[in-house]
């Protein structure tokens, strides 16, 4: 899967779960500060990404995923 395909898919998951428009979702967007997510949303997003990309995101790693770009990078590096 290419980086841009990952980016598209990640954005679509975020848009669906947080109810925001895809045009609002930028790599630098912070889940909490810009996209209005709370701690439960982040758990749900992490789980959805784990399932979509077949990666495991341990809790201590998930804590460092603060922006959309962080999520895309993590998946890029860890996907099988």
């Amino acid at each position: 899967m290419s980086t841009s395909a990952i980016e598209t898919k990640v954005k679509s998951i975020i848009a669906d779960q947080l109810g925001v428009g895809e045009d609002e979702i930028k790599p630098e967007s912070s889940f909490i500060e810009d996209l209005g997510a709370d701690s439960l949303d982040i758990v749900e997003l992490v789980m959805a990404m784990e399932e979509e990309f077949e990666v495991e995101i341990p809790d201590e790693e998930a804590e460092n995923i603060k922006t959309v770009g962080d999520a895309i990078n993590y998946i890029n590096t860890h996907k099988k």
């Binding site: 779960q17 947080l18 109810g19 925001v20 209005g36 439960l40 758990v43 749900e44 789980m47 399932e51």
Partner: protein, 417 residues
């Protein structure tokens, strides 16, 4: 109790008859049935294949799309009905609103008989399929019953008492009665009170069905809920929400609120008899009706209409009739009794809320909703059930009965204002 008086200033109903108080009221006056074949899932081999499903509810009209995803349907109904009631009343909260109530003095007492059972079913299925470490992080907040009052408090900044009674089919009558008490005692000055239910699911329908509690008149859904009729064969599951805004009378008057009715009495007690069957002769129900009258200092003769529990089960309707006769004596022959469950189905934990709304409307609109499907009289049910047709009547006081599994009873008493 104190001299403080409590009035109803806002209403909201969602039921199989539609979304909105006016829609429900007009459908009730027209004697419409909201019952149909279950469409939300395949009932498979469940004996009862009919229910009063809400058909026209669009949660996004009331709730942000993103929030909708995080809520079970029962909580969506609760929030939407609360929105209707708050809007109708114009309930002012906070220092910025003219005559605004202190947020700390506004309570939310909203319950549900069962809570987020569709979420529970969905997540259990997911757990079995993918593992119980893969549940939605929203599962618990979708399922728990006090999330409805919690969400309502967040929307309107109600910082007073916030909790959810769970007493089966008496749930929202208890909610309204406890909110009344709280205002009477001065703990609060206003409250949003009622209940919501969304239990027409495989577990809900299947569970009540195997108890033989439900009507199996599957070939005639509109005729299935027939309280007091000789051929009644069980209740029909309904769903939705019923909500009231209650205010301390002087404050409501001062702010120029439109007052629909006064809530003057509340009784709550227990049969202490059986898990599902009412006590013989409706002893507990009768005692509860008397408690409500006593709390209001009202003579039975003042009551002109009873919105009955009237579930359409053989047991309830005969026992409730006996209880009414025991409490009202000769006056039982003069007052009118009807069961709007004949049209909405049994909304379980939301029933008392919806019927509380109906009670307030009977007093403010001078019309009695009928009990539909009255075809064959039952000698054990021989009161005036306002058969099949709504009726114009100016009554001065209305009683609303709610009785629940577990032998719990709650009775509300409303008066013309």
């Amino acid at each position: 109790m104190s001299n403080r008086r409590v009035v109803v200033t806002g209403t909201g109903i969602i039921s199989a008859l539609g979304t909105g108080t006016e829609k429900n009221w007009q459908a009730m006056l027209a004697g419409k049935s909201g019952i149909g074949l279950v469409s939300r899932f395949d009932p498979g081999k469940i004996d009862a294949r009919i229910a009063g499903e809400v058909k026209d509810f669009e949660p996004e009209q009331f709730i942000d799309r993103r929030e909708v995803r995080r809520m079970d349907l029962y909580a969506q109904y609760a929030l939407a009905a609360a929105e209707m009631a708050v809007k109708e009343s114009g309930l002012p909260i906070g220092p910025d609103a003219p005559h605004g109530y202190a947020p700390e003095k506004v309570g939310v007492i909203v319950g549900s008989g069962i809570g987020g059972i569709s979420s529970l079913e969905e997540q259990h299925r997911k757990g079995l399929e993918k593992g119980f470490d893969r549940l939605s992080p929203f599962f618990i907040i979708q399922m728990i019953v006090n999330m409805a009052p919690g969400l309502i408090s967040m929307r309107y900044n109600c910082k007073g008492p916030n909790w959810a009674p769970v007493s089966a089919c008496a749930t929202s009558a208890h909610a309204i009665g406890e909110a009344w008490k709280s205002i009477k005692l001065g703990e609060t000055d206003a409250a949003i009170a009622g209940g919501a239910e969304a239990a027409i699911t495989p577990l809900g329908l299947g569970g009540f069905s195997v108890m033989k509690a439900l009507s199996t008149r599957n070939d005639d859904p509109a005729g299935a809920s027939r309280p007091f009729d000789k051929d009644r064969d069980g209740f029909v599951m309904g769903e939705g929400a019923g909500m009231l805004v209650l205010e301390e009378m002087e404050a409501a008057k001062k702010r120029g609120a439109k007052i629909l009715a006064e809530l003057v009495g509340y009784g709550a007690n227990s049969d202490a008899y059986h898990v599902t069957q009412p006590a013989p002769e409706g002893e507990g129900a009768a005692r509860c009706m008397r408690l409500a009258l006593q709390s209001a200092g009202m003579n039975p003769e003042e009551v002109g209409y009873i919105n009955a529990h009237g579930t359409s089960t053989p047991f309830n309707d005969a026992n409730e009739t006996k209880a009414i006769k025991a409490v009202f004596g000769d006056h039982a022959r003069k007052l009118a009794v009807s069961s709007t469950k004949s049209m909405t189905g049994h909304m379980l934990g939301a029933a008392g809320g919806a019927e509380g709304v109906v009670s307030a409307l009977v007093l403010s609109r001078n019309m009695l909703p009928p009990t539909i499907n009255q075809q064959t009289p039952d000698p054990d049910c021989d009161l005036d059930y306002v058969p099949n047709q709504a009726r114009e009547a100016r009554v001065n006081a209305v009683m609303s009965n709610s009785f629940g599994f577990g032998g719990t009873n709650a009775v509300l008493l409303f008066k013309r204002f």
